[in-house]
């Protein structure tokens, strides 16, 4: 999935101020404030954005992004493909296209999904402007204000503003090393049922979850699909990283286990080709698909035809499997570098996940460490990560955790970045211990596990 929070707004270029709309007084803004839709009140704010913007400084080693390494794509291939499009299909590539996407793009989508054992009907597929739009359209189609949506705790940070902007009441279900705690999901559904309510959908990234890096076990996948069927609840399976597995056996996607009755599938080319072309897709049962297509018509009529042409050239060339293979090699070694560096540089009070694929490691620190504050300290050492609170709908929980990305930096940068974070973290841990234990101030009473931040306390060194 794309990472809107990872793309800080660039400071506006020094254009001639004469062209810029004159600014308003605070009083004028108050007037606009009265015009904003209710839903803007729940949209998450820009403070995190402000901090993340600093991470874009060139001297900062950023383990904060969620970006694939597009420098691995051969420029010559890119040039050849675009040239061919210009020479052979200029008029078509510059024209509008069908709302649901070209048949050829859908065929490419099927090829990618078949690589993970799924074979959707072409008419169930809609090509979207990135997986992010698929998420937005699904929420637009299903969610009325106050409806319940369930997702993982922590969840994909980019999903938070989507659920918020449709005013969903979002519940987060904890995870452990085997992914979402489906037993707790069942309890939640039961509790909601006793109030006469039911989630509109359950959102999950089952494989190499963003941000936690964990994968839903096969047994839990089966139970989740069964739960959806029994209770007639839709599951939105977001699978951007499924093909980026570095070890272990592939797990059957929920879509495959369910057959597509209750599972809406979201895929993307962002992590296996390019996030810049903004191509994703959704697969949904026909009645849902019809509404999603209407929603897309309202949003942007169609996904960029030029991007679709580019993708088709790429898939037509037939080497896409090799390219993914090369990405796997690169990312595997970067993941290994990160895990080694964590073992070496993080204090023993910290734990972290050991992902078998994807782009992220999730670290859990002692609960007296607030990672937003730690980020401020880390930025002085020119290194950045994503504070865990970004992955929680209330923006508060998860404050002792962090997401670390290993796809967008070289192994050397990763080692150095983790070393620096480890150093500031160790300093704060020592300081806390100095204040609490060596002296007479008692250790604060152990907090009740909130049920939301229990995961990933696996002993260090265990896979």
């Amino acid at each position: 999935m794309p990472e809107p929070q990872d793309r800080p707004p660039e400071p506006s270029p020094p254009t001639s101020p004469a062209h810029r709309r004159s600014h308003q007084t605070a009083r004028d803004l108050e007037r606009y404030a009265g015009l904003f839709a209710q839903r803007t009140r729940v949209m998450r704010s820009s403070a995190m954005r402000d901090l993340m913007a600093i991470t874009a400084r060139p001297d900062v080693i950023s383990l904060a992004g969620g970006l694939p390494d597009t420098s691995t794509f051969p420029p010559a291939t890119f040039a050849a493909q675009m040239t061919r499009i210009a020479q052979e299909s200029a008029a078509e590539a510059l024209q509008y296209g069908p709302t649901e996407g070209f048949d050829e793009t859908k065929a490419a989508v099927r090829m990618v999904m078949e690589a993970e054992g799924m074979s959707p009907e072409p008419e169930d597929i809609i090509v979207t402007t990135g997986g992010q739009q698929a998420l937005d359209l699904i929420a637009k189609t299903l969610v009325d204000p106050g409806d319940v949506v369930v997702c993982e705790a922590p969840t994909y940070p980019g999903a938070v503003p989507v659920f918020c902007s449709y005013e969903a009441e979002t519940h987060q279900v904890p995870m452990d090393d085997d992914g979402m705690r489906v037993d707790q999901l069942e309890e939640l559904c039961e509790r909601l049922a006793s109030e006469g309510r039911k989630p509109k959908f359950i959102y999950s990234v089952p494989s190499f979850q963003n941000p936690a890096g964990v994968t839903l076990s096969l047994e839990r996948r089966r139970r989740l699909v069964e739960l959806a069927r029994m209770r007639e609840i839709l599951v939105v399976e977001d699978n951007p990283y499924g093909l980026l597995r570095y070890e272990g056996e592939p797990q059957a996607p929920l879509y495959q286990l369910d057959g597509g009755d209750y599972v809406i599938y979201v895929g993307t080319l962002s992590k296996i080709l390019s996030p810049g072309i903004r191509i994703g897709w959704a697969v949904a049962p026909p009645p849902v698909m019809e509404k999603i297509a209407l929603g897309k018509q309202a949003t942007d009529l169609c996904t960029s035809t030029l991007s679709q042409y580019f993708a088709l050239e790429y898939f037509g060339e037939g080497r896409w499997r090799d390219y993914i293979g090369s990405l796997r090699e690169i990312y595997r070694s970067r993941r290994d570098a990160m895990l080694e560096a964590l073992d070496r540089h993080f204090p023993p009070q910290a734990t972290w996940t050991r992902p078998h694929g994807g782009l992220f490691v999730w670290a859990t620190l002692p609960d007296y460490i607030d990672t937003s504050d730690l980020l401020a300290k880390a930025l002085r050492e020119n290194v950045a990560f994503v504070p865990g609170a970004a992955a929680y709908v209330d923006g508060r929980r998860g404050s002792n955790s962090m997401r670390l990305n290993f796809s967008a930096s070289t192994a050397d940068e990763i080692r150095e970045g983790v070393r620096r974070i480890g150093a500031v973290l160790s300093e704060q841990v020592q300081l806390y211990e100095t204040i609490t234990s060596e002296h007479r101030l008692p250790q604060p009473a152990q907090r009740e596990p909130s049920g939301d931040v229990v995961p990933f306390r696996a002993p260090r060194g265990e896979a």
Partner: protein
């Protein structure tokens, strides 16, 4: 005039600075000045030397911007600049120094103690926490000594919360202060050339109190200007702000943040040498309430900078 607008920099308040600067640049342009925006990086001095501006408008916030650093460089280059001078910036940015000076000048400020991390690491300062809590009581406020906005500010409701709050605050600065919490109303008085502007009251939603995000977002904090205060109370508040301004040696402008305790007495928390100038900032809001539009405000600030330079040169000769 050719006006260099210093903005950005590497502080945590970079984005706020960029928003302040954008607004200032617009105003300067419509006032007919030649505007030269400069992002404060390692080329700052070189850029200033090449540009030779008539005056520098400092729209930087936080350490490295309002702590006297760019001010000192501008002094060396002989470029007039907006806002308080080097010494006043140093006094404002260091909350501990500021509180000592306020107390010496008889300006009320809440009780406090201050430590650097060495005191905890090497001198066993934690052993004094019992005495500290006896003196300050709970809840107490823990703040980094040098940091703008509300970054790193934490409340400790009881002893259990103190170590965590200290670790948070010490993430922003090597020195922290623990301050008695003053329950009451949150006020800000912007002072322009020694004259206090109408008082702003900030009414954050309860859960957003001292929340960095809320400060810059419409709808999260309610601002009233002029604040609804009895005449004598308002006079006391303005007086406390003016005395703070002089005690710290400010020139040009500054914003004084204070609490009005439940007995209607002002207690000064801090002074900001370079308050925000964004669309939602309190200084322009207060100026507006005094009938000074943003362009006029910017114009006055520039004039004050040039006058101060002139006065300094006159006193030297």
């Amino acid at each position: 005039m050719r006006v260099a607008v210093l903005k950005g920099g590497s502080s945590l308040e970079r984005q706020v600075s960029l928003r302040s600067a954008a607004r200032v640049e617009d105003a300067l342009a419509s006032l007919g000045h030649e505007v030269a925006p400069i992002d404060a990086d390692s080329d700052l001095v070189r850029s200033l030397k090449e540009l030779r501006p008539d005056v520098a408008f400092i729209a930087l916030h936080g350490p490295g911007g309002e702590d006297g650093t760019p001010q000192e460089l501008l002094e060396i280059l002989g470029v007039p600049y907006t806002g308080p001078g080097v010494a006043a910036c140093i006094r404002c940015m260091d909350k501990v120094l500021a509180k000592h000076l306020l107390r010496e000048a008889g300006v009320p400020t809440p009780d406090w103690v201050a430590f650097n991390s060495t005191a905890f690491r090497e001198l066993g300062a934690a052993d004094a926490l019992e005495e500290i809590e006896a003196r300050l009581g709970y809840p107490l406020v823990v703040k980094p000594a040098a940091q703008g906005s509300s970054l790193g500010v934490r409340f400790a409701a009881s002893r259990d919360g103190v170590p965590e709050a200290l670790v948070s605050a010490l993430s922003y600065d090597d020195r922290v202060l623990l301050e008695r919490h003053v329950p009451g109303r949150e006020l800000a008085v912007s002072v322009l050339d020694g004259d206090p502007l109408p008082i702003v009251e900030a009414r954050p939603k309860e859960e957003d109190r001292f929340n960095y995000e809320a400060r810059y977002e419409i709808g999260r904090t309610e601002y009233l200007c002029p604040a609804d205060l009895a005449d004598d109370v308002a006079a006391d508040v303005r007086d406390a702000a003016s005395r703070t301004y002089s005690a710290l040696g400010c020139t040009g402008f500054a914003r004084v943040d204070l609490m009005l305790d439940t007995d209607g007495r002002p207690d000064v928390l801090e002074a900001n040498a370079i308050p925000g100038l964004t669309d939602t900032s309190l200084f322009p809001m207060a100026a507006d309430a005094a009938g000074i539009g943003f362009e006029e405000l910017v114009s006055r600030i520039i004039e004050l900078a040039v006058e101060r330079r002139g006065a300094a040169e006159a006193s030297r000769t």
